[in-house]
Symmetry: C2
């Protein structure tokens, strides 16, 4: 059984793969997802994975179905490298940088959007976030200020309309996972705890991180020492570690953030933690739906050429 769509938008990340079949007016007709992220794939598996995911979708015009892809599929270690745009840059130029990976047949016509790199002001890279940022800028014309995208590698991006002026990346999420699973701190932590102890530990850790972001490598050890000396429970310590890392990330960006309302794009539970810490310095966090902005970004990128 076939479903007719005008084109397909795809967000191909490290862990996950999501696709939306759209009508000509941008309505989502069908949504699909899979766990076949870049991290699990070799280069030659991408065409087959995409064909399987989009099985049964047929283009309205009878020809090859346009598939517009953002994310890690365009990385050097992904499917087909899409060279970076260099910041500062206007994201309305995203589609100009798209590349077309070869396919074994003419059913699908995929194009992969570039990521954004930065050389002046600190080497940095993003892939996937730029499409969300274009989406956010499209939904909020003429907005400017800093946008935070919490996650494994959190991005802080200074935007001006559809322009990326500058960005930085904090390895907060990855450090949390590393420390929780592989460091000496693991003896003091727990996998599952969302009780009041965790919230209390989170607030205590965030306060230390905000006040002394330069002391992170020392304050980390306090997690272990607290559990040995003060009988702090694993739930409290896990919250403390999380708060300390997010507090350090935000504490080292106080001058950038000021008292702005910061759009937060990411997993809702994580965005809520960032919003809590932003509130501690007199700023505000505002959760933004990640799926909504990536869809808006794919549509906007496509609109600039079609």
């Amino acid at each position: 059984m076939s479903e007719f769509v005008d084109w397909v938008g795809v967000d191909w990340g490290t862990s996950n793969l999501r696709a939306w079949g759209l009508s000509s007016d941008g309505t989502v007709i069908v949504a699909r997802k899979s766990d076949q992220g870049m991290g699990k794939l070799t280069r030659d598996q991408y065409p087959g994975v995409l064909e399987t995911l989009l099985d049964g979708l047929v283009g309205n015009n009878g020809g090859a179905l346009d598939v517009l892809i953002c994310g890690m599929a365009g990385a050097r270690q992904g499917w087909f490298e899409a060279p970076y745009l260099e910041a500062p840059t206007d994201l309305r130029g995203l589609l100009d940088g798209a590349v077309r990976p070869p396919m074994p047949n003419n059913h699908l016509a995929p194009a992969i959007l570039p990521g954004v790199c930065q050389k002046a002001g600190g080497d940095n890279v993003m892939r996937g976030e730029e499409t969300q940022l274009l989406g956010l800028a499209t939904l909020r014309p003429n907005a400017h200020g800093v946008v935070c995208m919490p996650g494994t590698h959190s991005k802080w991006v200074s935007m001006n309309g559809t322009r990326i002026e500058h960005f930085s990346t904090a390895m907060t999420g990855e450090l949390f996972d590393l420390l929780r699973h592989h460091s000496v701190l693991r003896y003091s932590l727990t996998e599952d705890s969302n009780g009041p102890e965790r919230a209390e530990g989170f607030a205590a850790g965030a306060e230390v991180g905000l006040e002394r972001p330069e002391q992170l490598t020392s304050e980390l050890f306090a997690v272990r020492a607290s559990s040995l000396l003060s009988g702090r429970q694993p739930g409290w310590c896990t919250g403390y570690l999380s708060g300390l890392l997010i507090g350090t990330e935000i504490g080292s960006r106080r001058a950038l953030i000021g008292e702005q309302t910061v759009p937060l794009i990411g997993a809702p539970a994580l965005c809520a933690l960032y919003a809590e810490v932003l509130g501690m310095i007199g700023a505000q966090g505002e959760a933004v739906d990640g799926t909504e902005v990536v869809l808006a970004g794919l549509k906007a990128a496509r609109a600039f050429i079609v």
Copy 2:
């Protein structure tokens, strides 16, 4: 074949175990070592490991052989817990806090020295370092100032003669290992490189760490971005990561360090890196032989009661 000694000093760490049989005037008659550190042992294995290590050593007085132990054997997860002294504290009190673990026979008479903890001014713990510090204080009477002990968990200790006034711990070595083996940075790093590229990367990373210690979680990602964008080689990136972490550790302690000459107790190659970074801020590092100070510390601890 038997060897006669007056007593035995033991440094029982997480990874290694070292023992020295001493004459009554403190001369080392026999030295032995093994890889049976705390990390590899269950509680009931300690007596057997110690008996095997000291096989053939006989006390001069014909009775049980005194064995004075410092380090992780006294940890809660070690052999037999030796409660901490609490800083600020005079290390001449170490032996008062020693505990005597039970043995299956009367051949050996082991005593385990306490570690030192800190509650006021930041929860913290050490085990083993306190004995080295007592040794250093004995070799340099009336010295005062900060002592650095680089390693997995680096210690920075403010000493005044035989007193510990305050100390902090930086998880620098553990973070380096975690990031090198388990993080996304591992794709940009190498295991073995001591060439000029590594030294150049080290100096560059140290400079950034010293200048912006609060930006560590962001500057870490630059290791990855540099290798993607600027073609930085694995040797350079590995040096950069090492320099960034040590630079951050030292950069966050500038007020503590000033322009002092800082005794460095640790692995010689690592101490040389710390000395290089201390030189960059106008201080000096002075390598101290770790074996010499732990032996001096064990002798001093014993002298305060025998």
